[in-house]
């Protein structure tokens, strides 16, 4: 790694973020890079940052709605600008919820239909319609990545859904071992088995599953590495 890529990926820490350490560890182990940590109270995203991660956890305890309070923290104003400039942003779990709450991604994440937290391994397929770099790089395979959340039930109204579909913004769907997004492979009631989506320009991606946990065969799967790698490539190529 060159020194410019060494510090080029930032990670935003909210009070209550708790998957930050796992992201840091996974990037170090997989790509030998140190993430640049950005505290929620900061107002600026350093100029050398080319990609941003919003990690999982329970920002502000998620006591209002998951992601709702974090969406308004000082740093999120800058994250919005960063995204508007075409910066690459990856929101994982609570980070995905924050992205929706801040309108960087459409829709929202409701309570799981079973009204219980769910922690298990899932299998993700990549939709074929999309043209984003994510779709291009990941299509044709399925990815075993674990979930752990209480509010991962993606919802958007009919018009919004049509738009998502027609623009190819749906990225991941929870699937069975045949790669089908079936009712039995839906872990939380999410619309169309949606597990992850991208923004219109394909630069902002949010997903409920945790790729940073699927970062070693020893931990049950290393399929998340490919996902994180696409993020790195997308961010650093710009």
């Amino acid at each position: 790694m060159t020194s410019s890529t060494q510090n080029a990926i930032g990670l935003v820490q909210f009070p209550g973020s708790n998957c930050d350490a796992d992201c840091i560890e996974a990037f170090k182990r997989l790509f030998q890079i140190d993430l640049h940590l950005i505290w929620h109270e900061e107002h600026e995203i350093p100029a050398h940052i080319q990609g941003l991660i919003l990690p999982g956890g329970f920002s502000y305890g998620d006591y209002l709605r998951s992601g709702a309070l974090a969406a308004f923290s000082p740093i999120m104003q800058s994250v919005k600008k960063f995204a508007e400039r075409g910066g690459a942003v990856l929101g994982i779990c609570n980070g995905f919820q924050v992205l929706c709450e801040s309108k960087l991604l459409p829709g929202t994440l409701l309570k799981n239909v079973q009204r219980k937290f769910v922690c298990e391994m899932t299998s993700l397929s990549v939709t074929s319609e999309g043209k984003s770099p994510w779709h291009k790089a990941l299509a044709g395979k399925s990815y075993r990545v674990p979930i752990a959340h209480g509010e991962g039930n993606y919802y958007i109204d009919q018009a919004g859904l049509k738009k998502l579909q027609s623009q190819g913004q749906i990225l991941f769907q929870y699937s069975d071992d045949k790669g089908q997004a079936s009712a039995t492979s839906n872990p939380n009631g999410t619309l169309l088995n949606i597990a992850g989506i991208v923004s219109e320009n394909g630069r902002v991606m949010g997903m409920m599953p945790h790729p940073e946990r699927a970062s070693s065969e020893l931990l049950g799967s290393d399929d998340g590495a490919a996902i994180l790698k696409v993020f790195m490539d997308t961010a650093l190529k710009a």
Partner: protein, 78 residues
């Protein structure tokens, strides 16, 4: 007939959610917010045939919707 049941924490029980929301909103600059209480509101629709709907609502609220150890409720017809 519709009834409303509002369930809230007893005043002496810590409202962790309300407190966290208030503090976060204060930090966002909304200094004028003095306190936030978080409650649950249920709207119950009761069938016409029920003899004493108010009594039924009270029973459901007391036995099922509110947890008497930590919460109190109020019920009224809408």
């Amino acid at each position: 007939m519709n009834y409303e049941v509002i369930v809230e924490l007893k005043p002496e029980v810590l409202d962790t959610q309300g407190r966290a929301i208030k503090e976060a909103l204060n930090r966002l600059g909304h200094e004028g917010l003095k306190s936030v209480k978080v409650q649950r509101r249920f709207v119950l629709e009761i069938a016409d045939g029920v003899k004493d709907p108010a009594a039924l609502v009270n029973q459901l609220a007391a036995e099922h919707l509110a947890n008497s150890v930590a919460e109190t409720f109020t019920a009224k017809r809408l």
